[in-house]
């Protein structure tokens, strides 16, 4: 049983899906930078997770904050309140105001590799992604769509992912992660806006809590 491996890698590729959205900002040129360092991207998400053995997809929705160079805060509001914080320090999950999961980076193989990819992507550099995925652009113009497929699907790290489909205009509007066997995550992003707004004290304390 590869319980642990599945667990770790799917976490990572969940993030990998997330990480891809800031870079593909403008149509035709997915390497254009729109999110400057110091800027914060905020928005809402809707996630639909189809899993084999489940009568209905697991639907959740909430808001997110992406801080290039720092990390991501993912707040689920429905069906129940929970918060996930991801940074180079690791992963922290909070449910019912209790830490339900703390995963330091040292326990998470590949997290810092992911950070290199993510950091590069934020600054408009697609190359790190191209080392891991084949990147196909399916449509251009104001609305674009790219498909990422693992270059080395036989690699254990890639066995969890069949393909990533990203679509958007100014920002990434949707991500579809096909995990094979009928398991598919569909994430739609809404009301996205990039700004220089500082993080709230609450958000800062979440990153702090993870840093500890």
């Amino acid at each position: 049983m590869k319980a642990r491996r599945r667990f770790l890698w799917s976490l990572i590729f969940g993030i990998a899906g997330m990480s891809s959205f800031p870079f593909a900002a403008s149509a035709g040129d997915i390497a254009t930078q729109t999110l400057a360092v110091g800027q914060v991207l905020r928005g809402h998400f809707m996630q639909e997770r189809k899993l084999a053995g489940f009568a209905n997809p697991l639907k959740s929705s909430g808001s997110f904050v992406l801080v290039p160079g720092t990390g991501l805060i993912w707040r689920g509001e429905k069906p129940f309140a929970n918060t996930t914080v991801i940074s180079s320090d690791g992963i922290l999950q909070i449910a019912n105001n209790q830490v339900s999961l703390r995963l330091p980076a040292s326990r998470l193989p590949g997290l810092s590799h992911l950070y290199v990819t993510l950091g590069a992507a934020v600054s408009g550099n697609i190359k790190p992604l191209q080392q891991t995925f084949s990147v196909t652009q399916q449509s251009g113009g104001a609305q674009w769509k790219i498909v990422l497929k693992p270059l080395h699907p036989e690699n254990a790290a890639m066995s969890q992912i069949k393909s990533l489909v990203l679509a958007g205009g100014k920002f990434v509007d949707s991500v579809e992660i096909d995990k094979g066997g009928g398991d598919v995550d569909q994430i739609t992003f809404l009301d996205q806006h990039a700004g220089n707004a500082d993080l709230t004290a609450d958000e800062k304390s979440l990153f702090q809590a993870l840093h500890k």
Binding site: M1, K2, A3, R4, R5, R6, F7, L8, W9, S10, L11, I12, F13, G14, I15, A16, G17, M18, Q47, R49, L51, A52, G53, F54, A55, N56, L58, S60, L72, W74, G76, P79, F80, N82, T84, I86, Q93, I94, A95, N96, Q98, S100, L101, L103, P104, A105, S106, R107, L108, P109, G110, L111, S112, H113, A156, K179, G181, D183, D185
Partner: protein, 770 residues
């Protein structure tokens, strides 16, 4: 003294030389582990064998950190280093290499037993009847970003307890993370990749050391040629041992050659001829040859320290030659036969007394000291035989030397202890020595700490500190030893220990700990957990939870009838350290709990006492205690030697004079430690051992002075002056040694021999033998 004797001795020496040549051709093992000089404690044989095994596994581990600005270069260099070491055959395993299958193997070993495995936090929640916390976590994992669970996993582990337990397993080297299949850490833009290897051979065997260290040097050099900025840090007992051996070997040749040259120059200066030099060389050479070969024959190998002392024997065995040569200054003994007859009684009694002194070392329960004793006894006896049997044959009829200046100088030494006019000077010297000794008594410090005794090379030490700083872990010598009648008993004891250790860690008494029970709960704990999971999680929450997530498939989470046992776990990945924790041997169940950076040993000792069958063990402290015990024993040895010499002296000189012969060397060994303390030298086991030699050598001087009379007195004092000078020359250089034990030995010898020489004429002063 006949020609027959000379021929017989030649046959023996030739046979010895041939034996040595054969052994050298086979390759000689030179042992350099200072601890090998010591016996194994008999007190608690089981605990001792466990400690030995732990010490052995510690000493076989070598850690490298390969650092570079480019993570890829660091990783490939680390891999190249590991491969090269494996290829050299000096290394059996590279633990830092990630077994790509390790996670899978671990997963399949643990997975069947998941319904009895709870992390401490989960167990606490269930004990507090807070199953909801576990439900919330499962929901966060299901709904959160990057969902990890699929239907198959959920059917078998609905509350996802397995991943939670996995994450609670203690993983060492927490500063490291797995990147691209290697363990690495980042600091100041450098990426360090860990290469941790297990040695295939004995790190204290010189041959193996040389093979391993040269493989390392060669590989590192070629890696640096490719990547000039590469940093390679290393640590491991073998590097220290190798440097120790190198230093000892270099020092052996340096001290040996230097003392030989100094002694030969001295002889040439005093006797104005090459002849005594050649003869002296023959006596010294046969002594060292027989001592070294005999020790090899008896022990199979020679310890580096014993070898050093053996080479230094030159300083002692030359005493007999010098007594003989000084007869050149005696006009009444014109030929070799007459000369040897004159000195024979003195050197025979001297040898007998010295052999008695070294014999007591044979009684000491120290393997290394027995070697020293054998080296000394054989070397002295051989030199003695060479002087007695070969000198009369080899020494061509030379006339007496008539240089009265040297004799007059030597005569003054005797007068110092005899002339009434010099009484004030005499008493001043004695009083001066006493004042120094009394003053030094206040500074006298006893030091048995074994950590001070292995002199550690500074560059290696700083690399070790850097590795400790980077990795945040140190190769501690402290652990808790757990013993019980069986394995389950061990796990249960550890489970009682864990909460206490958790609290101690919070209190800052230590940085961390690793125990088998953290990887495998005891069967009784697993039973408890299964009941907890059933009663506090499954029964109250499962139905509602499944309904909430809309899961409709059949579940299959029923635990098996059996329970997880340590033997079920593969020794791969992070679990490879389990073999370090299990120290059980036949009929003896034992685990160790590894402790990291113990800051408050007393607190740990106290908590271990609360759980039966557990106790804190400190390898270094244990050795230090041993050193202390044997230091006290070593102090008793000179007293015993003196007592054993008494019958010989009383037979030869009678009661009063017999005791008087012992007085100067006894005064020397009593005064030496406090006077050495004035120079800041602590009193250790090795200083105590040197005192035994001071006694033996000092007794020689007393005997020579006692055996002489009248006009021959200056000839005798010239002999002991030269002898003391030679001894000080060779042992004075030992004080310069970087090997702690040899240094301590040398300093004591330096002071002790000088005092023994200074006081020697007092043994024979004014007395005329009947």
């Amino acid at each position: 003294m006949s020609r027959v004797g000379a021929w017989l001795w030649l046959v023996v020496v030739a046979a010895t030389a041939i034996y040595l040549a054969v052994r050298v051709a086979d390759g000689i093992t030179l042992d350099s582990n200072i601890l090998a000089l010591l016996p194994h404690a008999e007190r608690d044989a089981a605990a001792q064998s466990i400690q030995d095994r732990i010490a052995d596994s510690f000493s076989r581990r070598v850690v490298f950190l390969v650092g570079d600005a480019s993570p890829a270069k660091a990783a490939s260099a680390a891999q190249a280093l590991g491969n090269a070491l494996i290829q050299s055959g000096t290394v059996t395993a590279i633990t830092s290499k990630l077994d790509p299958d390790a996670q899978r193997k671990m997963g399949s070993a643990y997975f069947p037993y998941r319904m009895g495995l709870l992390s401490d936090a989960d167990r606490a929640h269930l004990l507090a009847d807070n199953g909801q916390a576990l439900v919330s976590r499962a929901l966060s994992m299901l709904y959160g970003p990057g969902g990890f669970a699929d239907g198959k996993l959920l059917a078998r582990d609905p509350f996802l307890l397995m991943p939670a337990y996995f994450l609670s397993l203690p993983v060492p080297q927490s500063k490291f993370s797995f990147e691209d299949g290697v363990l690495s850490l980042k600091e100041n833009h450098l990426t360090y990749v860990l290469v941790s290897v297990d040695l295939a051979g004995n790190p204290y065997a010189t041959k193996f050391q040389a093979a391993f260290v040269s493989a390392v040097e060669k590989t590192v050099a070629s890696l640096k040629a490719q990547t000039p900025d590469l940093t390679v840090l290393r640590t491991g007992a073998i590097f220290y041992a190798h440097e120790g051996t190198e230093a000892a070997t270099n020092e052996t040749s340096l001290i040996g050659v230097a003392s030989l040259l100094a002694i030969l120059a001295l002889i040439f200066f005093v006797f104005r001829g090459l002849h005594p030099i050649l003869l002296g060389f023959v006596a010294i050479g046969t002594g060292v040859l027989c001592a070294f070969t005999g020790t090899l024959f008896v022990f199979g190998q020679v310890h580096a320290v014993a070898l050093l002392l053996g080479v230094s024997l030159i300083g002692i065995s030359v005493d007999y030659s010098l007594q003989y040569f000084c007869e050149y200054f005696d006009e009444t003994a014109p030929g070799p036969q007459a000369r040897i007859k004159r000195v024979f009684p003195a050197i025979a009694i001297g040898l007998s007394a010295t052999l008695i002194g070294y014999f007591t070392l044979l009684l000491a329960p120290f393997p290394g000291l027995r070697q020293v004793a054998v080296v000394s006894m054989l070397g002295l006896a051989a030199s003695f035989l060479t002087v007695v049997l070969w000198y009369p044959v080899l020494d061509t009829n030379r006339g007496p030397v008539r240089d009265v200046r040297i004799l007059r100088f030597a005569a003054f030494h005797w007068k110092l202890w005899e002339a009434p006019a010099l009484r004030v000077a005499r008493y001043s010297i004695v009083a001066g020595c006493l004042v120094c000794a009394v003053g030094g008594t206040f500074l006298l410090k006893v030091d048995d700490d074994v950590r001070h005794m292995q002199s550690l090379s500074t560059p290696l030490r700083s690399q070790e500190r850097e590795i400790e700083r980077l990795t945040g872990s140190s190769a501690g010598t402290q652990f808790i030893l757990v013993r019980a009648t069986n394995e389950q008993g061990l796990l249960q004891s550890e489970e009682k220990l864990m909460p206490l250790l958790v609290r101690a860690k919070q209190d800052g008494a230590l940085d961390g700990f690793t125990a088998m029970s953290q990887f495998v709960p005891s069967i009784s704990r697993q039973k408890e957990n299964r009941t907890l999971i059933q009663n506090k999680l499954v029964t109250p929450h499962l139905a509602a939870y499944l309904q909430q997530i809309g899961y409709t498939q059949a579940l299959n989470y029923t635990p098996p009838k059996t329970f997880l046992k340590p033997a079920d776990l593969p020794r791969v990945g992070p679990l490879s350290l389990l073999s370090l924790l299990d120290m059980s041997s036949q009929g003896q169940a034992a685990h160790v709990v590894m402790l990291q950076n113990v800051k408050n040993a007393a607190a740990i000792e106290a908590l271990a006492e609360k759980v039966p069958g557990t106790r804190l063990v400190d390898l270094a402290d244990d050795w230090s205690r041993l050193f202390g015990e044997y230091r006290r024993y070593a102090i008793a040895v000179p007293v015993l030697s003196a007592l054993l010499m008494c019958p010989l002296f009383c037979w030869r000189y009678g009661w009063r004079r017999g005791l008087r012969v012992l007085l100067p060397p006894l005064a020397a060994i009593a005064l030496t430690p406090p006077i050495a303390a004035l120079a800041g030298v602590a009193f250790t086991f090795f200083n105590a051992m040197a005192l035994i030699l001071v006694l033996s050598v000092g007794v020689d001087y007393s005997v020579f002075c006692s055996e002489t009379s009248g006009a021959r007195k200056p000839v005798t004092t010239l002999g002991i002056a030269l002898a003391a000078l030679c001894t000080i020359l060779s042992f004075g250089m030992l004080a310069l040694s970087s090997v702690f034990a040899v240094h301590a030995f040398g300093v004591t010898m330096l002071i002790g021999i000088f005092l023994a020489f200074l006081f020697a004429p007092a043994a024979g002063s004014g007395a005329v033998r009947a």
